[in-house]
């Protein structure tokens, strides 16, 4: 075969953006940190809350998908790297405009969730900081097989963590927890940071604090276990421990749960958006069949991909924050 292999265009976009901006969707680092403004989280310390920019990116993925739908099967020789903005420009789309539009309502939601995640930790008396100019873990680079770029990104991340004197990472998202725990050690010699998925930190701190958790009114929830959390990291009990301890919360298990959970469809969203949509719809049907009022999940990509259908989706962070009786996040 003399022709070059054809690679889905999204690979080039995330490659370019990660090397230029430090994250796959080309967010400026100040945009990633917007959520933390006014919270006075220390930017140096041994333990960090690591967002991996994932919640921040989530609201923009749909715009990326829209752009990608236009570039489908356009010539994209691998050697010619094009950033999302230039690709978008070629197809008559003002990428900044779509970003702003799509980012409007959505990014506020995600910023609120991020604020709640930090305020919850504070409330539970967990010491933590949030790094200035936090870098993306590179999870997508690994996932798409861009190992070279991933290795470089991992090195940059580790250098930053070391420079800031970090010892422990509270990984807010399952993807980043997995990538730190299971993949970094394959790429980085002596990767010896302690990594705790956010839900585990919360479960542990709650036990220690012995705090009463209660929702203002009764709510039935079903739990959508994210694949990366339930299967890759085998964390299935901690979310249940926390949720079941909340008064006024009735947890109804979906048939395919824990280690048998079913994917939300997000992973193929940027390559086969139609498939992603259908996988999500099927999962939504299963979650709705529990009769619960809403589904709770613990991953921004699951949250985003399951949202917008007949099902109300909430983040674990929102539920815990509310159950702690905390006031408005002020975002």
């Amino acid at each position: 075969m003399s022709d070059k292999l054809y690679i889905p265009p999204v690979l080039q976009i995330i490659c370019e953006n990660t090397s230029k901006w430090g994250n796959p969707l080309g967010l400026a680092s100040k945009d990633c940190a917007v959520w933390a403004s006014g919270l006075q989280i220390p930017n140096k310390g041994k333990t960090i809350l690591y967002t991996g920019c994932e919640y921040q990116m989530t609201s923009r993925i749909q715009s990326l998908v829209e752009v990608l739908k236009r570039v489908k099967f356009e010539d994209t020789a691998f050697a010619v790297f094009k950033g999302l903005q230039s690709v978008a420009g070629r197809f008559g789309v003002d990428s900044m405009k779509i970003f702003t539009r799509a980012g409007g309502g959505d990014s506020k939601t995600y910023d609120r969730i991020l604020r709640m995640s930090a305020l919850t930790l504070r409330r539970l008396e967990v010491d933590f900081s949030y790094l200035d100019g936090e870098l993306y873990s590179g999870a997508l680079l690994y996932e798409y097989g861009l190992f070279e770029e991933f290795g470089k990104q991992a090195e940059r991340v580790v250098n930053q963590l070391k420079a800031e004197g970090v010892m422990k990472i509270i990984a807010l998202t399952p993807h980043s927890a997995e990538i730190f725990q299971q993949v970094y050690p394959q790429f980085i010699d002596n990767f010896d940071f302690e990594v705790s998925p956010y839900v585990c930190t919360v479960a542990e701190a709650l036990k220690k604090a012995g705090m009463e958790l209660s929702l203002p009114k009764p709510l039935t929830l079903t739990l959508h276990d994210p694949c990366r959390l339930a299967r890759a990291l085998k964390v299935t009990e901690e979310p249940r421990e926390v949720l079941q301890a909340i008064r006024n919360l009735d947890l109804r298990e979906v048939a395919s749960n824990k280690g048998s959970t079913i994917c939300c469809g997000a992973p193929c969203k940027t390559i086969y958006p139609e498939l992603s949509e259908l996988v999500a719809s099927k999962r939504v049907e299963e979650l709705l069949a529990t009769g619960a009022e809403a589904a709770v999940t613990l991953c921004p990509f699951c949250y985003s991909n399951l949202t917008g259908k007949a099902l109300t989706v909430v983040d674990f962070i929102e539920i815990v924050y509310q159950a702690l009786g905390a006031e408005d996040v002020g975002a």
Binding site: M1, D3, K4, L5, Y6, I7, P8, L11, F73, F78, A79, Y142, E143, Y144, G145, L146, F147, E148, C227, R231, A232, G259, S260, T261, I262, C263, G265, P267, C268, I271, Y272, E274, L275, L278, V279, K282, R283
Partner: protein
Amino acid sequence: MSEPKRIFQKYYTELLHAIHDRDVSLGLSRSISANRQRRAQVMQRFPNTAELANEVRRLREESVDRLDELVQTASASLQENGAKVYYAKSADDALRIIGEIVGSGKVVVSGKTLAGEEVGLRHYLEGLGNEFWETDIAQFIQQLREEKPMHYVFPSLHVTREEVAKLLTELLGREIPPDIPVEVRTIRDFLRSKYFKADVGLSGCNVLAADTGSIFLIENEGNIRMSTNVPPVHIALVGIEKIARTLDDAFKVAQVIWRYAGFAAPLYVSIISGPSGTADIENILVQGSSGPLELHVILLDNGRSTLAKDPILKEALYCIKCGACLFECPIFQMTAGYYGGRAYFGGVGSILTAYMGSGLEEAVPIAYTCLRCELCTDVCPVSIDTSKLIAELRHRIVNKARN
């Protein structure tokens, strides 16, 4: 448009077609729940199955690590039993060898063989001027529809009784009603008229025991027994990764295959070690008795020995093609075999497609379909770590694309 891009686009188009095809989704939903139920019942009836599967994982690791040695042992055993053994380095070699044995103007009946799909055996033999009949009912339907299989165990799961009636009416030139028992009886009668005319019977192999040279063939329809026993010549096409060290090991692998495929006991298991023979007259051994006069075994490499030496991707060769993962895969549940190459499906199938003949360009769109959700690993009897393999395959794809 470049060839690899055309391949990608064609695959994408077919996927989109599949997700909107009502027959595909209806066939799938029926098969998925039936298979799940059957599998659960089997596991309940044979609670040692998971433990047996763990042992089979170790056996598969051993087989793949000792592939060259097992090929030698199996060849020697089969020859000792009176079989003729050939080593086919590539798909073309396999076709050439089989083509020379069969010749032209013959009638060929074939039991289900994935390796046959892999090398494109039917089209090749038809091209040489032979009359070729698939005898597995699902593959027979697939042959009439001129399409690729949709699943390892249930290749025509998306075809309705109405469609089968239409195909049979067309084939036979008389009205066949959309009544499943009538359809099955019609196919039975048709195929029985072929077995006894056939010059050659073809088969694949589920497991091959190296120490005794015994080919295991698992089935329910009886078509494999007919195809491998009635015609005077039996040709078995065997992927070399199917070899187990001993007959005992082969039994373990075979049991795990049928249990994870959802069968407590398949209706037939044939164990064929050579052509028929007798020593009933004066204890003088004569080859050829009631069964076939000749057994030809083609050991197919076609990338397997290279894959077996790959420190990471060799795990894909542990697959025993029970198909349990496919029915659980969220993508496969909507697309069936369109999520796959010409013979192998799903995440693991993308690696087999890449390294067993079809090439990386065929595997690219399949590899990037996988969600890496790991549900397949959860149900896989040999716990293949698809998520890891897919990341690695994508890495190889990216590297090749850049060089």
